[in-house]
């Protein structure tokens, strides 16, 4: 092969680069660069017109300077001039400069677009290629406006060269990613799908990427791609390694294309039986090939082969419908867990995490527990150990929780600092979720605090207190255990907090033992007092006043402590105030009053574990949520009761039973300074998000939150960096009352705070909402409450919208969420015997009265969870009515002002297919329809 020509004779550029490389210091380099910049500037400004070559050379130098990390603020015009040159090399450098350095100077964009337009129309494939590369690199909205209509035509035109087609496909993909609204769907889409059949594998490769992205948003329009992709894939995986010539990579046929095709198939559910058989064959072939001896010892061979294998496993997991394939995938990954290649061990751990959440493979994953624990102990790379922690967490269930929690605790003693907090959260969640024996839970959390106290966040110790308060069978044990733990000469402040709170509530349960008499308990706590921070001391003061109530015999001792100067005159206002008030309370209040004021904390109402929320936040929404949700659903009621709300220090000082039911005060203080523009805080999300518009669209995630409220009445409806909205509601017959709590999470006031309830014109005649305006100022950290009285006039479908506007630190904030007032809230359950049920069922046999929906389970199919949901939905759950014990039936009456509507429902799960059939029969079609929609979304 002849020596390729390199560089195109820009000697000046080479000399300049050499100069820079020879610079001995950063200063010398900057000096040289400034000299060059001055030179170029004068050349560009000079009277003498520059020839194309010089322009190209200088533009190239600017580019080099930019790539060294310096800012370049001129030369764009010269680069644009180069675009319209007829000499290829000049044009090429012009395009490169624009691609790397474009800024949103609108005047320039117009000129650039003009040049691109000419090149696209030139019918010269090399020029067209350059223009398309430039669009794909810049991908700005202006370019989308100019070319999004044109490029599809280039892509599907019969006479377009293959290489141009490839560029056009990916160019369109880039534009679609940045401005999908500007890419018109049309006739071209079906022709693009047929590019999957193209003879040129490069064209197929580029087209598959485009189709995958388009199909994610328009699945219906691209569904014919499924069978084409399967047959293409089938041809590739069955081909001999030499068939595809240059598209074979280290003996693996078209690995990039195979991965892309498998990815495309993940946009769709399992295909129809005919295609499905062929796909299953493909997947089996890929799994079989993994067992064959390698065709080459090169790592590229095994990487390419395994890349396809992992993508096939992703597809198998995505379909989650072929138990046989799932178990094979799991076994394959099990082999990789012990592979000598670190990369494969890492990926196997990662991939198994998703397998663990499938019903079919959960058990198979569990068999690898010893290997995973071993990885945790022996892997030298922290990122691999992190994956092992994730997998242990994902494979945990009631059978192995004690072992996994114990292993995680012991790993925690030596774990890298970077992942300690996350492990603490995971241990806390698992210990709670799978606790059969709550003494084990209490022991585990105290161990956590002992081993990694600094990494135990507020949420964790709030949670242990919520659980102890809600479960009276563990309170005595908890008191005894914290008392013993506090004996240690040095214990973590978090232990003092837990100990202080628990002894304050339940110290009486162990006071009978002379070794833990009231005075000993008090002295023990007070011995830690002076070493603690202000918030902990404040908590201890509350414990002391609770002791005054629990143990009258230590009252004088405690009063002496409160009376001392170090309390009454403490420089800290909070401590001083508590000391003064508690001392006064202990002096003037009668025993009865004390007993009332300091009554035991009431149980906390149901709420999602705040620890779980914290873990999700830490891991980012995309990675944990699904797995978490499904796992959580599966474990509802394992703990034998509703999940309680977090406690808070403020609730301790004002133990009124209604003060902080939603736990809004428990939110950790918001960081000072303005919050990031979007809630998720992800790097790229921030960049993509538009500036706030005048009318807020529904807040992201509000659909999910809305659905969550269909079967329950209390909880957090919305939360972002600034604001938390909590709900508590009750319904009786056709009336309801909803308490909306707005919590200001920041330390700054909200001004002009105006929540508005909006009922659309369609909704208004059916639903009456009445409320009073709230105070327009919400202080930092404060919570305001709004009561809404609700009347259901007649059946309705839509939900009202709650729109909130306020000013925060000079910026106008706008939040809209759907308010979860749904038709089923006006259900009254009706119990009836089997015979009655079927008699009424038959009476409602008119086709308009029945609505049926068959749908795929979105959550694990757990009988107990399903029952809880049907009851939460509002109907009665009728046992022993359906001849098939696996089915669920329910009955109830929807109350509206004008009429009452009897409703019967029947839910038939099909575990094999992971499907449900839900049938609703009511006397009114619209009601059947709406209830069916609402309930279907719950499983």
């Amino acid at each position: 092969m002849p020596a390729v020509s390199k560089g195109d004779g820009m000697r000046g550029l080479a000399v300049f680069i050499s100069d820079i490389r020879n610079c001995k210091s950063k200063e010398a380099e900057i000096k040289r660069i400034n000299k060059e910049l001055a030179n170029i500037r004068s050349k560009f400004k000079g009277d003498k017109a520059l020839d194309g070559y010089s322009k190209k050379k200088y533009v190239c130098k600017l580019l080099f300077i930019f790539l060294l990390g310096h800012d370049i603020d001129f030369g764009h015009m010269e680069a644009v001039n180069l675009l319209s040159s007829n000499r290829y090399t000049e044009k090429q450098i012009g395009y490169l400069f624009i691609s790397v350095l474009v800024n949103s100077n609108s005047e320039l964009i117009r000129l650039i677009n003009n040049a691109i337009k000419n090149d696209l129309a030139s019918r010269n494939p090399t020029f067209m290629g350059l223009a398309l590369h430039c669009i794909a690199s810049v991908g700005s909205r202006e370019m989308a406006e100019a070319f999004a209509g044109e490029i599809p035509k280039v892509l599907v035109a019969g006479d377009t060269m293959d290489s141009v087609k490839q560029s056009a496909a990916l160019c369109l993909l880039r534009l679609y990613r940045t401005s999908s609204d500007l890419v018109p769907m049309g006739d071209w889409t079906s022709r693009v799908v047929h590019l999957l059949n193209d003879q040129h594998l490069g064209v197929v490769t580029a087209a598959t990427s485009l189709i995958t992205t388009l199909a994610q948003k328009n699945p219906e329009e691209f569904k014919t791609s499924v069978s084409l992709a399967v047959s293409r894939l089938s041809r590739i995986v069955t081909s001999a390694s030499t068939d595809l010539q240059d598209y074979t990579y280290y003996f693996v046929p078209a690995p990039w294309l195979s991965v892309k095709l498998l990815r495309l198939l993940q946009c769709y559910p399992p295909p129809d039986p005919a295609v499905r058989g062929r796909l299953t064959e493909c997947l089996e072939t890929i799994l079989n090939k993994a067992q064959e001896p390698p065709k080459s010892k090169k790592v590229q061979h095994s990487n390419a082969k395994n890349a396809v294998l992992f993508e096939a496993i992703s597809l198998i997991i995505h379909h989650d419908s072929e138990p046989n394939l799932l178990v094979r995938a799991c076994n394959q990954l099990g082999q990789f867990l012990q592979h000598r290649e670190t990369n494969l061990r890492y990926l196997a751990l990662e991939s198994m995490c998703t397998l663990a959440s499938s019903e079919f493979s959960h058990e198979a994953v569990k068999t690898h527990i010893e290997t995973v624990i071993n990885a945790l102990k022996t892997e030298r790379d922290v990122s691999v150990r992190q994956r092992a922690v994730d997998l242990l967490y994902a494979m945990c269930d009631r059978s192995n929780a004690p072992q996994i929690v114990a292993e995680m605790l012991s790993y925690l003693e030596t774990a890298d600092y970077s992942i300690r907090e996350e492990i603490v959260l995971k241990v806390a969640i698992l210990a709670e979720k799978y606790a059969v024996d709550y003494t084990w839970y209490v022991d585990t959390i105290l161990n956590l605090i002992r081993i990694a106290g600094d990494y135990v966040s507020e949420e964790v110790w709030y949670r242990v207190i919520q659980i102890v308060i809600n479960r009276d069978d563990v309170q005595g044990y908890a008191a005894k255990t914290v008392f013993e733990a506090l004996q240690a000469p040095a214990c973590h402040e978090n232990l003092v907090k837990v100990g202080g709170y628990i002894l304050g509530e339940f110290g009486n349960l162990i006071a009978g033992d002379p070794r833990s008499s009231p005075l000993i308990q008090f002295n023990l706590l007070h011995s830690k007092f002076h070493l603690c921070s202000v918030p902990t001391r404040a908590l201890l003061l509350s414990t002391y006043i609770k002791f005054v109530n629990l143990f009258p015999e230590v009252k004088p001792t405690i009063q002496d402590v409160l009376r001392s100067d170090s309390q009454l005159r403490n420089a800290d206002v909070e401590l001083q105030q508590r000391a003064v008030e508690y001392l006064r309370l202990s002096t003037v209040a009668s025993t009865d009053i004390l007993a009332t004021v300091l009554e035991e904390m009431p149980p906390f109402p149901e709420r999602e574990s705040s620890i779980l929320a914290k873990l999700k936040k830490k891991k980012g929404p995309s990675t944990v949520t699904d797995l978490e949700d499904t796992k959580r659903e599966r474990s509802v009621d394992v703990n034998g009761g509703p999940e309680p709300a977090p406690a808070s220090t403020s609730a301790m000082s004002t133990p009124s039973p209604s003060a902080d039911l939603l736990g809004l005060g428990a939110a950790p203080p918001a960081p000072a300074g303005p919050p990031p523009s979007s809630g998720s805080g992800g790097l790229l999300v921030d960049v993509f998000s538009d500036s706030a518009s005048a009318v807020a669209p529904l807040a992201p995630g509000s659909e999910d939150n809305f659905a969550r409220f269909v079967c329950k009445n209390n909880g957090v409806l919305f939360e972002n960096q600034l604001l938390q909205i909590g709900l508590k509601s009750e319904f009786r017959q056709n009336l309801g009352r909803m308490f909306i709590f707005y919590g200001n999470k920041t330390s700054t006031q909200f001004l002009n705070f105006t929540p508005t309830l909006i009922c659309s014109d369609d909704l208004q005649p059916h639903l009456n909402l009445q409320t009073k305006p709230v105070d327009p100022t919400v202080e930092g950290g404060a919570q305001v409450q709004q009561v809404v009285n609700i009347e259901c006039v007649s059946d309705f479908t839509e939900a009202p919208v709650l729109s909130i506007q306020f000013r925060y630190g000079g910026t106008f904030q706008n939040v809209s969420v759907q308010l979860p007032i749904t038709l089923n809230k006006f259900f009254q359950p009706t119990e009836m015997a089997s015979q009655d049920f079927f008699q009424r069922w038959k009476q409602l046999s008119n086709p308009q009265q029945e609505v049926q929906n068959i749908f795929k389970a979105k959550h694990p199919m757990d009988t107990e969870v399903t029952k809880a949901k049907i009851i939460g939905f509002g109907s009665a759950l009728l046992e022993e009515v359906d001849p098939n014990p696996a089915n669920f039936v329910g009955a109830g009456i929807i109350h509206t002002k004008t009429t009452q509507i009897g409703c019967l429902l029947r839910l038939e799960p099909n575990l094999q297919a992971q499907m449900y059939r839900l049938t609703l029969r009511t006397s009114k079609e619209a009601v059947s329809q709406r209830l069916c929609e609402l309930l279907s979304a719950q499983f």
Partner: protein
């Protein structure tokens, strides 16, 4: 793929290609953080790491690190081979490519990358086709002698 960075063992950036719109400031910040993170890793560690909400795939060839950021659902191993194929393309074009070739002919390194990857997706995986496109372009240019050569890095055997 969201971006690709090439940097030296000394942390000097040699090539950057961004497939998502970011401000210059953000790009510099990302580059700084990533170069630090990757250079701090030991040779035997795995080639993947989680970073912010992205996955980083990197590999070292002689004095140069090739580092790609991909999204959650993207395939790590195939990305590793994207890097390798790009190195092969550079090697074939320059004839035993080394870091200096990329410094002095950075524009060529960009042109080759654009033929191979476009908009963050693989455009053409055939080595023959990519190089044919580049050579055709070169035919349109005047020929000059190559000036710089030093130690190659593809011949450098990795310890696999």
């Amino acid at each position: 793929m969201q971006f690709m960075l090439l940097f030296s063992r000394q942390g000097k950036l040699r090539l950057q290609k961004w497939y998502v719109p970011l401000s210059d400031k953000e790009k510099k910040k990302i580059t700084r953080e990533l170069v630090q993170t990757v250079l701090a890793r030991k040779p035997k560690m795995c080639s993947f790491l989680e970073w912010r909400d992205l996955k980083i795939v990197y590999k070292r060839y002689a004095s140069l690190y090739f580092c790609c950021a991909i999204e959650d659902q993207d395939n790590e191993l195939i990305t590793l081979e994207i890097i390798h194929r790009y190195v092969e393309l550079l090697d074939k074009y320059f004839g035993s490519v080394c870091e200096l070739d990329i410094i002095f002919n950075f524009e060529k390194a960009y042109f080759i990358l654009d033929e191979f990857l476009l908009g963050g997706e693989v455009q053409e995986t055939s080595k023959k086709n990519v190089l044919k496109a580049i050579e055709q372009a070169d035919l349109l240019q005047e020929k000059t002698e190559t000036m710089y050569h030093s130690k190659s890095f593809i011949g450098y055997k990795k310890a696999y």
